[in-house]
Symmetry: C2
C-alpha cells in the first residue's frame, strides 16, 4: 500500500515552517537519565507556538490553501490544542478561521483560541456530531476543513518535530511518541526512518485509550469506548484511516501508561526540569520513567507534545 | 572606593563555569512583549543546575578552595537555593559540604539538598543565630564558609548570568534583576557595564522587602523588619557590606512589586510560556508586566533567577 506521506513531504513541510514555527529546545536531566537508566532527550513542543506541536501541521496545511480560497477561510473542530494551532496559523496567514468547540470547553482554552482571532461556534457534546457540524460550515462557506490528524499535510507538518530532534541530538536509537489519532506519530515515524531506518519508534497510549494498540493487534482499525484518561489530547476512539497504515508499518510497539504515572511524570518535569507539560505531553516521559522502553534503548528521544494544562488540573497535582 | 569585583572577575568566573554551569536559554513571548510594550528577554536561570543562579557563585567560589583545604570541606547556611547551589557545586568538586537549614525548612528543599550529598545540620529559626552556627562549624572543622552573597567570588559567579544574556541577545538597553542580599545584581551590574556602560540596571524588590531601596535613599545600609513576602529568596533585611557599594554605583533604580503582582507573573509564565518559576524568579517579570521599567526601555533583559517553587505554593496559585 502506498503511504499517505513520504520523507520528502516532511522535508518540504520543514521548509514551509522555517522561521515560522519555533525550533524548540531539547531538555535533558541527569536525574531523569539516572531514573530511566539511559540518556533521555525531551523535544519541548510545549514551547511551540500555540503551546503544542499542533501548530506545525495546521500551518503546513493552511499555507497550501490556494489564493482564491483564502478569503473563504478554514474550519475545524477541537476542544484543545488543534483549535489553537489552527487559529494561530490562520491568523499568521491572514485567513479567517471558524473553530467548533464544545460548549463546556475550559474557559482558558476558549479564551486562548479567541485571542488568536478565530470565530468560535459552540456545539453540544452530547447531542451534536462535531465533524458533521464542521463539514456543514465548510460546505456553506466554501471553507477548507482542517482535520486534526487524518490528512497528509497535517502528518507531514507534525513529523518536522522528530526531524528537528534527530538533527539536534546525534545517535538517537529510540523515539517515544504519544498517540491520539496518530498524526504526530505517523509524521514522526516517517521522519525518523527517513533519517535513519534503524530508529525504533515506540507509541504511548493511556491504558484506557489504547485504540491504536488494539488495532495493531487486530490488524485493522478497531473502535473503543470513549476513554476517561486525564490525557485529553489522547482521548481518541479509533486510529485515523490515513495514519493507521503508517503506524502499522513504522511503529515497533505501543506501550501504555496509567493516569497516575502521567501525573507523576508531570510533577517530575515541573519540579525538576521547571517545564510545564500537559498530561498528553507527559505521556512519553511517564513511559520512560515507568521503564516501558525496550531494554536495548540507549539514547531515547521523547516528543513532549504540549503544555496547555488546565489550571484546575495543575492545582490538583499537589 | 574600590569595588569588590571588576569586570575581569566576571570574565574569569565565566571560564571557571564553562562546561559546568548550563548556558541557560533566553525565553521570549509575543504576548509578554505586547503586555509590556517593549521587547522582553527572560534569562532562564530556573533552568540552571540546582534550579537557580546560585550554582554559578557557589561553584566559582568552591572551585578556588586550595587543594590542602578541600578535605575540610565547606559550610553554609540557607533554607533555599544557595543550599542546593553549594551542595551541588561541592559534590561536583568532590568537597564535603555541611548545610545549616532551619528545622522547619520545606521537606522538598531538605530532600533536594541531601540528594546532592550534603550533610544537613538543623537549627531553630527562633532561637539560633544561623551565621554564628555556620561559623562555629567552619572553625571547628577548618572548613570554608560560603556566604550567600557577600563575597567577591560569589558576586563574580552570579554576574556570569548577565554576561551570557548580553552575548545571547544584541542591543539590550535595560537589565532587570531581583534583589535579595545583592549578590546577583552586583555581579550582573558589573558584567553589564563591562559589556556596555549605557545599560540601565533596574533592581526589583518585594514591597515589604525593600531594604536596598531604602538604603539607596538613605545613602547607607539600613535594616528593615523581617519581611513576609512570598518571594522567600528576597526576604533579606539589609544589603551586603560588599554588594551595597556596587549597587550604589551601578544600579539606576530599585522598583517594588506586590505579592499579588508576583503571583500573577508566575501564572503568566507558567500558562503562557510553560516555564516553572519561583516567586523570586518571577519578580522581574512582575515589574515588567506592571509597567515599572523606565519609559525609554526598548529591549529589556530580565534575570529569572530560580524555579524551585514549593508544591503547596504552586497549588495555591489557581
Amino acid at each position: 500500500m502506498i503511504e499517505a506521506i513520504a520523507f520528502a513531504d516532511v522535508l518540504a513541510a520543514r521548509e514551509r515552517l522555517r522561521g515560522v514555527a519555533h525550533l524548540t529546545a531539547v531538555a535533558t536531566s541527569r536525574t531523569l537519565d539516572a531514573l530511566a537508566g539511559r540518556a533521555i532527550f525531551l523535544k519541548c513542543e510545549n514551547l511551540q507556538r500555540g503551546g503544542s506541536f499542533k501548530f506545525r501541521g495546521a500551518y503546513t496545511m493552511i499555507s497550501q490553501l490556494p489564493g482564491n480560497m483564502r478569503a473563504h477561510g478554514v474550519v475545524t473542530y477541537s476542544s484543545g490544542n488543534h483549535a489553537q494551532g489552527v487559529a494561530l496559523a490562520a491568523r499568521l496567514l491572514d485567513v479567517p478561521a471558524v473553530i467548533c468547540m464544545p460548549s463546556d470547553a475550559p474557559a482558558v482554552k476558549v479564551a486562548a483560541t479567541r485571542s488568536y482571532g478565530a470565530d468560535i461556534v459552540f456545539y453540544d457534546r452530547m447531542r451534536d456530531d462535531r465533524a458533521a457540524l464542521a463539514q456543514h460550515i465548510a460546505a456553506t462557506r466554501g471553507a477548507m476543513l482542517v482535520p486534526p490528524y487524518d490528512h497528509p499535510h497535517i502528518m507531514a507538518g507534525q513529523g518536522t518535530a522528530a526531524l528537528e530532534l534527530l538533527e539536534q541530538v546525534a545517535g538517537i536509537d529510540t523515539l517515544v511518541v504519544p498517540v491520539g489519532g496518530g498524526g504526530l506519530i505517523a509524521g514522526c515515524a516517517v521522519a525518523a526512518h527517513g533519517v535513519n531506518p534503524a530508529v525504533q519508534v515506540i507509541g504511548v497510549e493511556p491504558e484506557d485509550a489504547d485504540d491504536t494498540r488494539r488495532s495493531l493487534m487486530a490488524g485493522e482499525r478497531v473502535t473503543i469506548a470513549p476513554p476517561a484518561t486525564i490525557a485529553d489530547g489522547l482521548r481518541v476512539t479509533t486510529p485515523g484511516a490515513l495514519t493507521f497504515p503508517i503506524v502499522q508499518r513504522h511503529v515497533a510497539q505501543i506501550v501504555t501508561v496509567s493516569d497516575e504515572e502521567i501525573r507523576e511524570a508531570i510533577r517530575f518535569v515541573m519540579l525538576r526540569m521547571k517545564l510545564v507539560v500537559e498530561p498528553s505531553g507527559a505521556a512519553g516521559v511517564a513511559a520512560v520513567m515507568a521503564g516501558r522502553v525496550p531494554a536495548g534503548a540507549q539514547r531515547v528521544g521523547v516528543i513532549v507534545c504540549g503544555g496547555n494544562i488546565d489550571p484546575p488540573l495543575l492545582a490538583s497535582l499537589w
